[in-house]
């Protein structure tokens, strides 16, 4: 295609300026840029990203840094807006001359920053965005993802469902917007692959007050399992209304990882009991590495780490391992080193798949028991990863 020739010429032009910067920064501290939401709706996520990275930088610096060089983190507020994220990322790449970039939360920002990283010939990674496209059809040679993508969550959950309730009849209830529909579609594919039978699906508007209008349809379908990807206060209303109508008996409710969280579990109360979901991290992971991490995280931030904090913490260790393996911070060498890299994190061992830059990691199914999440099973990394859909490299 014609546009790519121009693109290549432009990126080559940018690359020459970027290389001058890289050569200049070969000594002194290694700069890692963090473009993450520090204001607005996503602040709690940005906060976890920040805490995770700061703790990792402290640990790495105390142990002698990366190949003897200290890590410096430079934060910028992306306001969960791709237009702001790109501007800030460009500042970090061109003015601060960072060696590596991370922190983007919403998928739009991550995709736009990936393209920017390509045009600046630098590397970036996300620890939060879970849209499959980032390491799928819109994958970029300059973007890596160390957290679990949506597919891994649904694969893990479907695998657990197959064991728990083989060949079950499943009904899907999602919020009526693009993300809601794609999460339902993704889980439906995986559930059907593992033998579940789809009984029907319905999409309710965001912020619905009354879910009982869909209950007739659900009851008529006689499902054993209801999958939902509604979030926040919508979950509170959906689950309590299901309970009020006595529909929760003999029904297993499963959902996306954001459906029941520490923020709404109190309001849902007993109706949340038995809810199961697939996640990449839980503070309950019973390994010495995780116990040490949780303890250090609590001591530093007076809060528990969540998956964002844990994934961000792990990222810097991957970067450290790859820079030391490449013996350089040069983009091409570090990219080669990151491909296929296996490293240790509090969540267990992770491996970056060379074909699409997606980290493979063990997945956990957690279920609400007496008002808090318990790990009920784990799915090994290679079982949860799903096919490599990236065709660009």
């Amino acid at each position: 295609m014609k546009p790519f020739g121009i693109l290549a010429a432009a990126s080559a032009l940018l690359a020459t300026t970027a290389l001058q910067g890289a050569a200049f920064a070969q000594s002194g501290p290694i700069k890692v840029g963090v473009v993450t939401p520090l204001s607005g709706t996503y602040t709690p996520i940005g906060q976890q990203v920040r805490w995770g990275l700061e703790l990792a930088a402290k640990d790495i610096n105390a142990a002698g840094g990366i190949a003897g060089r200290q890590i410096t983190l430079i934060f910028e507020d992306e306001e969960a807006n791709p237009a702001v994220a790109v501007q800030k990322a460009e500042k970090l790449f061109q003015v601060e001359k960072v060696d590596f970039l991370t922190g983007t939360v919403n998928s739009g920002s991550t995709l736009a920053v990936a393209q920017l990283a390509e045009r600046n010939n630098r590397l970036a990674a996300t620890t939060v965005s879970f849209a499959d496209s980032i390491t799928g059809d819109k994958c970029s040679p300059n973007m890596f993802r160390v957290n679990a993508r949506a597919e891994q969550q649904s694969v893990a959950l479907a695998a657990w469902l197959e064991k728990e309730k083989p060949k079950s009849k499943v009904f899907y209830l999602g919020p009526d917007y693009e993300m809601g529909r794609s999460t339902v579609a993704a889980f439906k594919t995986n559930a059907e692959k593992s033998g579940a039978q789809s009984m029907g699906e319905v999409f309710a508007p965001l912020d619905s007050k009354d879910y009982t209008q869909y209950f007739g349809q659900i009851r008529a379908a006689r499902p054993q399992v209801v999958y939902t990807s509604v979030a926040g206060n919508d979950t509170v209303r959906l689950l309590t209304q299901l309970q009020d109508f006595g529909m929760l008996s003999n029904l297993t409710v499963v959902g996306a990882s954001g459906t029941v969280t520490s923020q709404n579990i109190g309001a849902i109360g007993a109706a949340a009991e038995g809810f199961a979901t697939g996640v990449g991290y839980s503070t309950q992971i019973d390994t010495p590495a995780n116990k040490k991490f949780v303890e250090a995280f609590r001591a530093a931030n007076k809060a528990d780490p969540d998956l964002y904090g844990a994934d961000s913490y792990g990222l810097l260790f991957a970067y450290k391992a790859s820079v030391e393996k490449a013996d350089s911070t040069d983009t091409d060498k570090v990219r080669d080193a990151l491909r296929g890299l296996t490293w240790k994190t509090p969540q267990g061992e992770k491996t970056i798949r060379a074909g699409d830059h997606q980290a493979m990691q063990p997945m956990y199914v957690v279920r609400v028991n007496k008002g808090k999440f318990d790990i009920v099973t784990s799915v090994p990394a290679d079982k949860a990863i799903g096919p490599d859909a990236c065709t660009r490299f």
Binding site: I6, Q87, G108, Y177, M179
Partner: protein
């Protein structure tokens, strides 16, 4: 003899020439230092200045507050992005975006101009939200993720071509386009049509008695403002290589309104100054503290309290007095700045 309006418009032109000179200095400095970030930030500031200009056309001249001007900015950006991904031609993308916003603004104008005042503000806000939500949920338009992969195009000028990836070159092109839109707006406001608009803002009920159609004038300025926003928006994907539904959200419209109030309502050039200032402030303060929204909010409040006419509204009377002192026949837009310099050294 120059009347009040013509004098204040000339004073705006003086400030426009100052801005142009400052921008050219920045471009030269940027080229000399081989900078790209600040030039590209400046380019983005100018693009959002185009959006602010379109808000000021409505708010400052027909007196209608639009809270959804980002709608046309976003339509321009998306149409330009889609065109560039099919045919990488800058001028074709601009033409397509212009045409699309012309159609969209006509439809939007037919709806919004049925009401006025606060209802106009609400309807424009509502229309922008509806379209933004539709784009947010349309998979063919990239849904919430937006669209990436817009190529860096070559911008053709007859036998010459400048790459949109060249920071200085593209900065100058955007500067020329935005200042061109400013010039066109200023010209339109000096025509009899512009006078009808001014009369409309002053007293809408008297305009029909003078034989002019209120609706036609409001409609014309609404469509023109939509076009200005759309053409500015069309430049965005060329600069950043992506579009996202956030470009249509209220935050974008709101920032444009803040820019206009900061710079001075009804001054045209004030909108451009305000937008440039806001983008630069956000970038600098944002790197300095995560509480940048508080700082910008405070600055905005201080501005409203102590400079209610905005920065340009505050400084313009000073220039106006000097224009009046110079014999009016000699004053032309291009000769104004030496005349000012002379009168300044004389005083």
């Amino acid at each position: 003899m120059l009347d009040r309006l013509a004098i204040s418009m000339r004073a705006s032109h003086v400030l426009a020439i100052l801005l142009l000179a400052a921008a050219l200095c920045l471009a030269a400095l940027g080229a000399a230092l081989d900078d790209s970030f600040y030039l590209r930030l400046g380019t983005e500031a100018l693009i959002f200045a185009g959006l602010a200009l379109s808000v000021d056309l409505l708010l400052g001249y027909s007196g209608a507050l639009s809270l959804g001007q980002a709608l046309y900015f976003g339509i321009g950006a998306y149409v330009s992005a889609l065109t560039l991904m099919t045919v990488p031609s800058f001028w074709l993308a601009m033409a397509a975006a212009g045409l699309a916003t012309l159609v969209a603004a006509t439809i939007g104008g037919l709806i919004a101009n049925r009401v006025r005042g606060v209802y106009f503000a609400l309807i424009t806000f509502g229309m922008a939200q509806v379209v933004a939500k539709v784009v947010y949920n349309t998979r063919e338009l990239g849904a919430s993720d937006g669209m990436i992969g817009i190529p860096v195009v070559q911008i053709q000028f007859g036998p010459f071509a400048i790459s949109a990836g060249n920071p200085v070159g593209f900065f100058l092109i955007v500067l020329a386009i935005i200042m061109g839109l400013y010039g066109l707006s200023a010209y339109l406001l000096e025509t009899p049509f512009g006078r009808v608009l001014t009369a409309l803002k002053a007293n809408e009920r008297r305009v029909p008695f003078l034989g002019y159609s209120v609706w036609r004038a409001r409609m014309a300025v609404y469509v023109f403002a939509g076009l200005v926003a759309g053409l500015s928006g069309a430049l965005y994907p060329v600069l950043r290589g992506f579009v996202s539904p956030e470009l249509m959200f209220f935050a974008t419209s709101g920032n444009a309104v803040i820019s206009v109030i900061l710079g001075g309502v009804g001054t045209l050039i004030g909108a451009i100054y305000g937008a440039v200032l806001l983008v630069i402030l956000k970038s600098i303060i944002g790197s300095w503290t995560e509480h940048h929204l508080i700082v910008i909010g405070l600055l905005f409040m201080l501005c409203v309290m102590f400079l209610p006419k905005g920065l340009v509204g505050f400084s313009r009377p000073w220039i106006e007095r000097r224009i009046v002192r110079v014999p009016s026949q000699e004053v032309t837009a291009s000769a104004v700045s030496p005349a000012i310099a002379k009168s300044r050294s004389a005083s």
